[in-house]
Symmetry: C2
Subunit: 334 residues, 2 copies
């Protein structure tokens, strides 16, 4: 591993994807990326008595699929990097308990898939782990009641609001796979005064712009060097702001950019307002759609830039703004 | 870095401590480790309007001290690994925002100091960061109202309950310091059916026993090879259980063991029942007492084994047990 900037690294023995799993709920299974999911559950309780247990099970299932595709068991994994949106990351704790893999809880809000992927890649590249797993999840129902209102309340959603994905994504990294983790950037917290919890896209866009511009600078790249630059879940509002913010710096992302929050659902048909969100959104798009397109060599060189809003209901109630973060991972296939 | 077991690593270019800071509240300043704190605040609001902002400021202060002792500014740090007990780790987000250091949120409950230290050491050893910071905090008042009851409620505490420390610890790792991070073990989640949230020691002891025994096995060591084995915050109940559990495996920790939860306060005088707890407990004992004793070469070879209880109020209300985790870090000085 080589430091090529402050928080920016190049993997010299690039860790590769040995297997990945994407699971989702009913709505995700009805969306445009339906075919890329390994499994979708029409009953989003997954047969459990609480939404939190259902979400934990999503992580469990995603890891099971990823291990299966990687052709290894949990015993063959040295470290698992996992996190989620629930208080104290209980989806990860309870969902992954049975695997008994050395566990490192991560918190990056909706940027967690990029963060866990980056940490797992560092562990494999450094030789600390032969195989490492990165996983995260979100669930519409557990997130709504924790962050906003119970479903039964029937709250109206604003046009800038995004829909928390019921989904999980997991990836097993090791040596010998086709898709390589080439470089990564650890984002900085960025806060420009956005206080509206129904407009996460606006809160996260400045961090996305900062991290992408920094990555391009540190690596001497231009947007057109990549087949695609995916942001995590900026949605419609955040994506427009990202274009404005990067354009101010003379960088036009439009020709190569897409946002996982705009890809997961059909905004016209599925009533998700500004798009999808939640850790499981970019995680399932990465572990389903993006990795599949890379295996098929439709995409050969991509940036995965998951974004997160680092707030809680307490910080919100205390009138604090919503800081954002964005971690960047470059993935290539020969 | 070399993998010497599943989740166990040996640092080959050992990262060293360049500076550390320990800050605490009034009660911590009145305890037996008082002299080892860099700063204690008699007004535990630190002048802020909420306990959460006060806790965020504790992290900020601890990092400021650590940077100062390391003789560098925030700009000279490539990555910061931080976490805390508050929902969505807001003490870390808001406390560290102004430093603008590439940020990786960690969640290991009260094991967070060992986890962040391990991650920072991996980043430095692997060459991903020239300098990396590890930091965590807890605050009695923010933890009580989030996990238990508001202070105004005046709840009775049971004899097995521990007192959440109002404290933070931060350490800058890099090359050229005296204290070395030599080896580390990433713990596995362990759950033996404990459901009493007023008995965290019992919930965490099985994880501590498992991680310490595994570390001894992976490194071919015995307890007497170390000047001291510190556990995070098992308190009185957890410590007794740890002795029982390790004794069952033919290992006697008593001659070299101490617990940060039993060290931070005077249990006879300070009404903390079974001892101290919270991320800030082991963090401030490490960054104050332990590092000072190592600099003075009173201690030359120690294990720091911070323990965490991976539960939330939601998992508790849903009748789930309390899983524990324990990460191990070996520190030496020549």
């Amino acid at each position: 591993m080589k430091r090529i900037g402050r928080g920016t690294v190049e993997f010299t023995a690039p860790p590769t994807v040995l297997g990945a799993g994407a699971v989702g709920g009913k709505k995700e299974g009805q969306g445009p990326l339906s075919a890329y999911f390994d499994q979708t559950f029409d009953d989003v309780s997954l047969g459990y008595t609480s939404w939190e247990k259902a979400e934990a099970q999503l992580q469990n299932e995603a890891v099971a699929v990823a291990l299966d595709k990687a052709g290894c068991t949990a015993d063959g994994v040295d470290m698992i990097f996992a996190g989620d949106l629930l208080n104290q990351c209980i989806s990860s704790t309870f969902g992954l308990l049975e695997y008994e893999i050395p566990f490192l809880g991560q918190y990056g809000a909706c940027s967690t898939m990029a963060q866990t992927l980056l940490m797992a890649a560092m562990a494999v590249d450094a030789g600390a782990a032969q195989r490492a797993v990165a996983v995260t999840s979100s669930h519409f129902c557990s997130a709504e009641r924790q962050f906003r209102t119970p479903l039964e309340y029937g709250a109206q959603r604003t046009p800038t609001a995004q829909w928390t994905a019921t989904a999980a994504g997991a990836v097993v990294l090791g040596t010998g796979g086709k898709i390589r983790v080439r470089r990564g950037l650890v984002g900085r917290i960025r806060e420009l005064g956005i206080k509206d919890p129904s407009n996460m896209g606006a809160a996260m866009a400045p961090a996305a712009a900062q991290s992408i511009l920094q990555f391009l600078e540190d690596t001497g790249s231009r947007p057109e060097d990549f087949d695609r630059i995916f942001t995590g879940d900026l949605g419609l509002v955040g994506t427009r702001l990202l274009y404005d913010l990067t354009e101010d710096n003379g960088v036009d992302l439009r020709p190569v950019h897409n946002d996982c929050g705009l890809m997961l659902y059909d905004r016209e048909e599925q009533d998700v307002h500004a798009g999808g969100s939640g850790c499981g959104c970019s995680a399932s798009v990465l572990c389903g759609h993006i990795f599949t397109q890379m295996e098929q060599k439709v995409l050969r060189n991509v940036l995965f830039c998951a974004t997160g809003a680092l707030m809680s209901t307490t910080s919100q109630q205390q009138g604090e703004p919503i800081p954002g973060i964005c971690h960047v991972v470059q993935l290539t296939v020969e």
